[in-house]
């Protein structure tokens, strides 16, 4: 497999990641969302493996396997169980309507490309164009958290954001100082192809713990407010 093909494949996978991100932005049903999230994890995992192969960084295989187990199997499973236990079957209400959200998403992608343009010019890595997509994924994840009202969707948004971070870290570039300048702390660990293994393991455990904490929170929010609609939490505001 020559470098050109590799780059093509990686770019294709990156496009798929972005596509799933947009898919999540549009998806109204919760099971669909979780499926999309699993797919995104799968693309991420495959792309990580290929980057590892192309760059000869074999520890990236471990990352790929970790991503696969955590994000494709474990987390969707946990979320499914949670939804089942909490008996959530409703459609998800959005705060902003879907077309507008899509438009904002597109604007964010363009913004990300313009932002990472200097990096892409400087870098010679096969993965250089991924950074823009990774950043876009992060921001779309955040956008999802903002536009959705349901606690579970917010968590999926958060996890999608984390996917973007991971993507940025594994793809990464030599344009490291600039990445730091972006003010996104995660990228600081992405010196070259992939993070050091220790950091990776740490991140993996973080995600797992976060998932557990979210689970516990779901139960508590649900028992306190009889609903997982975060709008209800406005009642916690002081003074009214």
């Amino acid at each position: 497999m020559d470098i050109q093909t590799t780059a093509q494949i990686i770019n294709f996978l990156a496009a798929m990641v972005l596509l799933t991100a947009f898919g999540m932005l549009v998806q109204r049903r919760i099971y669909g969302l979780i499926h999309l999230f699993a797919w995104q994890g799968l693309f991420l995992s495959v792309s990580t493996a290929i980057v590892g192969y192309a760059a000869g960084r074999h520890h990236l295989y471990i990352s790929a396997v970790l991503t696969l187990t955590l994000k494709v199997i474990l987390l969707p499973y946990i979320l499914n169980v949670l939804i089942h236990k909490l008996k959530i079957r409703k459609e998800i209400e959005t705060v902003v309507n879907v077309p507008l959200t899509m438009l904002i998403g597109i604007a964010l992608v363009i913004f990300s490309y313009s932002l990472t343009a200097p990096v892409r010019e400087m870098s010679t890595l096969v993965t250089r164009s991924i950074l823009a997509i990774a950043l876009a994924t992060v921001m779309i994840g955040l956008l999802m958290m903002i536009t959705r009202r349901h606690a579970v969707t917010q968590i999926i948004g958060f996890l999608a954001m984390e996917n973007g971070l991971f993507f940025a870290a594994t793809s990464a570039t030599y344009g490291m100082p600039l990445v730091v300048e972006l003010g996104l702390f995660f990228a600081a660990t992405s010196a070259t192809y992939g993070m050091p293994l220790v950091v990776e393991l740490g991140v993996a455990i973080d995600i797992l713990i976060a998932a557990f904490i979210f689970g516990i929170f779901f139960f508590h929010i649900n028992t306190t407010f009889d609903s997982l609609d975060v709008e209800q939490m406005a009642r916690l505001k002081e003074g009214e």
């Binding site: 955040l142 939490m233 406005a234 002081e238």
Partner: protein
């Protein structure tokens, strides 16, 4: 030598901390806990006194570095003459108050848990010791906050009353605003000491070694002065004092007023004379003006009070003012290179610090004894206590005479020394100071006179005359530990008053260390009997002779009255020769201070009204007469209310950010990230 003074001082602090660990074991037997812990506190305080006396006597400076603190920023300790002096002052009063507390805290047993009081009492004194021993900004501030937090919990001790919570909160707020200013001041000095390169400038040694540009030094000085003023209760930052002191238990009020305020004086001296060292003369003038205003306003406000402890709290403002006058004069003279007079002014200020600790401690202990016996703080409801509580009355009287600056007690000596410094001011080169100084001296004299008037009122209304209250409680003299605590303080007041020369000779290492001159030689020209601060032909005072003279007059009067039987006739107290007057018609605190309230009325926010009822009767023959009087600090309306309103307004505006919706909060971070990305690109 096996021990050094610093070892003793550290041991003392450790003993206090040990008590905190020890107290919970005696929870079952509270009486035993009070006895053991306060006895231990008294012993530990004596250790600190020994360390202090020893250091000041020899003028030694001892340093140590503790293995505590942050990584690479260890705590530094230093015991020099100045810290030694404050260690002695704090330790001495802590010793007296600890003895007193053995008796006083007994009164709380059964009413509320005393363990809290015991623990925070130990923390509080340990905190004060740490403040004066600290030799770096970090340890200083930690100790400072430690002390403030401990005293906050002590003020809150009787926390079921809303009044106490309010007072404690006010105290905490002002203490923290002050602490922030001190922190900033140290930040400026530490930064300049290393050129903002690293953190090594946080030690006082590094700050001492550097020379600050005058504008930065001014910023640092005023920040720290503001911060210390908040703690010392200098007008207009005094508002917490009259709130917090009355509601705290009386042994705590004695310590807070007697010595905690003095840590702020210590801070001012440390920062100006020891760390910054070179400064323009107008700094001293500013300190002097604040001192004068605090002195005269403090005593005027005190005159308006009829709550005994509140009155004493306002007198703390006055006395802090007098101390500041000494310090301010010292700063002025130092900046004009007149070390001899600077030494005199510094000695006066520092001497008054010690004196105030003693007599204010004594007075608060006396007020506590009255409170303990009568459960009453309002003087208008008291009277004639001298018959029921003769010991307390005499000891309180000694405190009153001392604070009114009357010989032969200690207050006179330090105020007299301050006057001497004022009288030497015509030699100053700045014309504006030549104008300011006589006014200052006059204000100081006025303060002394008003203080005397105020304590005639405090003592007369509380202890003389007849009981004014509606119901007559059974009043007993207080127990022995309380009496002993007060007696020790009273004896110290007398000794400091009649043997000033010895005391000045002892503390002479402080002016040597800070302004490079000594006054003990000129002050002790004629030995211990005569105090001659500048030169014998200029001014001299002998406490011993005055004391003996007063004793002789009293003895002669006593003999003349008792030699002939029938020379003494007993009538009703304060009936002015009429016989039909009741207790309610006696002269009282409000009527006593009325002339002064008329003269200085414009300084206060006074609301006074008289209701005649019933209205139908002829106004010349009212059945009932209601008199309503409310005197308030003008500072509240002028300074604090606008600030409080502004901060509430601002808080409401900021509160609008708080929508309670997660999405909104996420949008805030989202927009922040986008903006950062756009602008930092």
């Amino acid at each position: 030598m096996i021990f050094s003074p610093l070892d003793l001082a550290s041991l003392s602090i450790l003993l206090f901390l040990l008590q905190v660990l020890l107290a919970p074991f005696f929870k079952k037997n509270e009486r035993f806990m009070v006895n053991v812990c306060f006895s231990l506190a008294a012993a530990a305080s004596l250790l600190a006194v020994a360390a202090g006396i020893w250091t000041v006597e020899n003028g030694t400076t001892e340093k140590a570095i503790l293995a505590l603190g942050l990584p690479d920023l260890p705590f530094h300790l230093r015991l020099d003459s100045l810290s030694g002096f404050f260690l002695t002052t704090i330790g001495l009063l802590a010793f007296y108050v600890s003895v007193y507390s053995i008796g006083y805290v007994r009164g709380f047993i059964g009413q509320r848990p005393v363990m809290r009081l015991v623990i925070f009492y130990s923390f509080f004194i340990a905190g004060m010791f740490m403040v004066v021993l600290a030799d770096d900004a970090l340890f200083f501030l930690i100790s400072w906050e430690f002390m403030a937090a401990a005293s906050y919990f002590l003020v809150m001790y009787e926390d079921e009353k809303a009044e106490n919570k309010r007072a404690a909160f006010l105290y905490l707020v002002i203490a923290h605003i002050g602490a922030v200013a001190i922190l900033l001041s140290f930040g400026v000095m530490a930064g300049l000491a290393t050129g903002f390169k690293d953190f090594s400038g946080y030690t006082f040694d590094a700050m001492r070694a550097s020379h600050f540009p005058v504008e930065w030094a001014t910023a640092a000085f005023f920040l720290s002065f503001f911060g210390f003023a908040a703690k010392a209760g200098i007008i207009p930052l005094h508002v917490w004092l009259p709130e917090a002191h009355p509601v705290a238990p009386s042994n705590i009020s004695a310590l807070m007023s007697g010595v905690m305020l003095k840590t702020a004086i210590y801070g001012i001296i440390r920062v100006t004379l020891d760390i910054i060292k070179v400064f323009p003369w107008w700094w001293g003038a500013v300190v002097l003006v604040f001192g004068l205003v605090s002195a005269v306003m403090g005593v005027l406000y005190a005159l308006m009070q009829h709550d005994l402890k509140r009155l004493l709290a306002y007198h703390s403002v006055e006395n802090i003012g007098i101390i500041l006058i000494g310090i301010g004069l010292c700063m002025v003279f130092t900046s004009f290179q007149m070390p001899l007079i600077a030494a005199l002014a510094l000695t006066a200020g520092v001497y008054h610090t010690m004196n105030h600790a003693m007599f204010k401690g004594l007075l608060f202990m006396g007020a506590g004894a009255v409170l303990h016996a009568t459960h009453e703080r309002n003087m208008e409801e008291m009277g004639g206590l001298i018959h029921k509580m003769p010991w307390t009355a005499v000891l309180f009287l000694i405190g009153c005479v001392s604070i009114s600056a009357l010989p032969p007690f200690n207050g006179f000596v330090s105020e007299w020394l301050t006057f001497q410094a004022f009288l030497l001011s015509p030699s100053l080169p700045a014309p504006i100071l030549k104008l300011l100084m006589p006014i200052g001296a006059a204000i100081l004299a006025l303060t002394g006179a008003l203080a005397a008037a105020c304590f005639v009122k405090a003592f007369g209304v509380t202890f003389l005359g007849r009981w004014r209250g509606q119901h007559k409680p059974k009043i007993q003299e207080v127990n022995w530990p309380m009496r002993i605590g007060m007696m020790l303080a009273a004896a110290t007041c007398l000794l400091l008053g009649i043997l000033p020369t010895l005391f000045i000779g002892w503390m002479d290492t402080i002016p040597v260390q800070l302004v490079g001159s000594t006054i003990s030689e000129s002050a002790g020209t004629y030995g211990w009997l005569w105090l001659t601060p500048v030169a014998p032909e200029r001014a001299s005072y002998s406490g011993v002779i005055v004391f003996l003279g007063i004793l002789a007059v009293v003895a002669v009067a006593y003999i003349m009255l008792h030699v002939k039987p029938g020379a003494i006739r007993r009538g009703n107290a304060w009936d002015c020769g009429f016989e039909k007057l009741t207790e309610r018609m006696q002269y009282n605190a409000t009527s006593f201070s009325m002339p002064i309230r008329r003269i200085f009325g414009y300084l206060f926010d006074i609301k006074e009204q008289v209701d005649l009822s019933p209205q139908s009767a002829h106004s010349a023959f009212p059945k009932r007469l209601n008199y309503y009087l409310r005197v308030r600090d003008r500072v509240w309306g002028w300074l604090y209310k606008p600030i409080a309103e502004a901060s509430f307004w601002l808080s409401r505006k900021v509160g609008m950010l708080q929508q309670g919706r997660i999405q909104t909060y996420l949008i805030y971070s989202f927009i922040t990230i986008i903006l950062l990305l756009v602008f930092v690109k």
